[in-house]
Subunit: 347 residues, 2 copies
């Protein structure tokens, strides 16, 4: 498995926007999600704790509906649409979990959905999205601009665009992950979550610091998609070219205009992990903890297993397992590439 590399960086003069997302917005989102989303369980493992040198509490968003935390944000936003907006429907662009989330929410709320997806999306995700009754519009990842396609559909058909992360209602929905985690475990020392566009960690940060101001919040990115890490370092939104990683869900070129300032305020640091470290975490979670977590969803555990989160010895750490959707073929490849490579077989 190739180790991810850091791509060329371009500084972009995007103005970040100050959002006014509050803890109350996240509490209201939790009310909306009641009965619709799962309150996901928290998994623990003695041997994982031994590997990480800390007590890890894994919030199982891989067991969320559609297999990822994305259901929370999508439901929170779509559920607040007006009657007229509902009748026209929604459109989303996504290569994966966000697409499925929007499709399922639209189905549950009985409104039309159009999903703009790359033509080379994992088969299981394309099939699932269509299975939810959504209309799928394919685009070429290398040639087309998905945002332009989605915007055109939105203009032509009056569809409401449901963005993957940079929207207050999406961010508030994702924040319910931390709200639940800290309600169950009010004395955590650190929260570790993966960063793609930053929607998950932004929402979680607002909820978590409202409940527990001293909590340390650490993000995790693949080395090959370190846009947020660089942006935080430079103090402005930096865009990085996309380079491949097994953590396909974390491959965003830049943090969002809304999510970036939230992360600036709340996130202590960002750990960078390699594909090998992510694959090791996927295998550990699967073979030892019996949980299927997709590579993007295992990034936070990977950082902790690899000792890349500073100052965690003996601490209580909340970790978000953000999703569990992976095609069988890449999963089989991860299984056979480094199997039996564990340092410790005792639990």
């Amino acid at each position: 498995m190739a180790v991810g590399f850091i791509g060329r960086t371009s500084l972009v003069s995007v103005r970040s926007e100050v959002s006014d997302i509050t803890f109350e917005d996240i509490q209201a989102a939790a009310q909306r999600l009641k009965g619709a989303a799962h309150r996901t369980p928290i998994a623990t493992s003695r041997s994982l704790n031994r590997q990480a040198g800390a007590a890890l509490f894994c919030k199982c968003e891989n067991l969320q509906r559609v297999g990822a935390f994305k259901f929370r944000g999508a439901f929170n936003m779509i559920n607040q649409l007006s009657e007229a907006q509902r009748q026209r429907g929604v459109v989303a662009f996504s290569s994966g979990n966000h697409a499925q989330a929007v499709a399922l929410v639209a189905k549950l709320l009985a409104l039309p959905a159009v999903i703009v997806m790359p033509h080379d999306s994992p088969a299981v995700k394309l099939k699932a999205t269509r299975g939810y009754g959504a209309e799928v519009v394919l685009y070429d990842r290398h040639r087309d601009n998905r945002e332009v396609i989605a915007k055109k559909l939105s203009d032509e058909r009056g569809l409401t665009l449901v963005p993957p992360f940079d929207h207050p209602q999406i961010i508030a929905g994702q924040g319910t992950v931390a709200l639940e985690l800290l309600t169950d475990l009010p004395d955590l020392d650190v929260l570790v979550a993966p960063i793609g566009g930053g929607g998950l960690i932004s929402g979680c940060s607002i909820a978590a610091h409202a409940m527990l101001p001293a909590l340390r919040i650490v993000g995790v990115e693949p080395e090959s998609a370190n846009d947020t890490s660089l942006s935080l370092e430079k103090g402005l939104i930096v865009s990085t070219p996309l380079s491949p990683s097994i953590a396909d869900g974390l491959l965003t070129p830049a943090p969002g205009k809304l999510t970036f300032p939230i992360m600036q305020r709340h996130v202590e640091s960002v750990a960078l992990v390699t594909d090998d470290e992510i694959a090791e975490a996927v295998r550990f979670l699967l073979l030892r903890m019996k949980l299927l977590v997709e590579p993007s969803g295992a990034a936070a555990v990977a950082a902790l297993m690899a000792g890349k989160v500073p100052n965690v010895q003996g601490k209580k750490i909340g970790v978000v397992l953000s999703g569990g959707n992976v095609d069988p073929t890449p999963l089989a490849r991860i299984l056979t590439s480094g199997a039996g490579n564990f340092k410790d077989q005792i639990r």
Copy 2:
């Protein structure tokens, strides 16, 4: 994947023994297990229910310590040994989960353990057993008699033999699975569990029928290891030759002298499943429910998904996912052999 075949059958005149295992024994086992075993969660899935046409409640013994229900019986028995017996230690013969269970329990209770295992056991299981600090004695599956080897070790070194299923304290320990399940869900209609030697379903039957006499109890065997099915049909213990199945944990040649009469009394019928049906269930549990369940552990779900358990439409069904230990290479093979073969992608 080859469909299992029914081997030649030999009628054996083994006298079955009437056991006096009571519900109180199982309640006492539950007390002993408190704080040592996990109280495993119950998983549900809308799409699994749709496939099975019933409401399934999956008792996740794949999340039990050592990754299988076997921990319960081993702990219950070994914990009752006298001080003198503890000092000499224990011996067990097993190709897998029972070995790991005895090894871990011995480690927890700080007593010596010798495990007699086939030399071609899955690498991950050999490694785990040794990792628990047990002494492993290997034997040739085709040439040696493991029971003779274990008996010799027991005689020479005064070790107490911990049998894999045919012992009252082992059976009582396994019965705590049903005790927990019916405590959480007192209105189940049917309980479905896999049958190897019958220890799990026997213990569960005694507990379940004490708590809920009207409960229907259905066993599941691979077609290629249908010894209990044939034995129940003929009314006496029948031995079948071992033929391969991906459900390696269910490959016992005959039901036990203790377990057989218990199954005669409590088990309504035994469903037979093919390797293909088992593989389909493993994939469904993994890719859709994000749970790693080993082939033997997925047999009960396989029977329900394949419509092989009669009269379940609209019923509430308890299903035991009995274990989750599988080597990465065979798991990768299961993943790639029939991937994307699902009838229904909507959840």
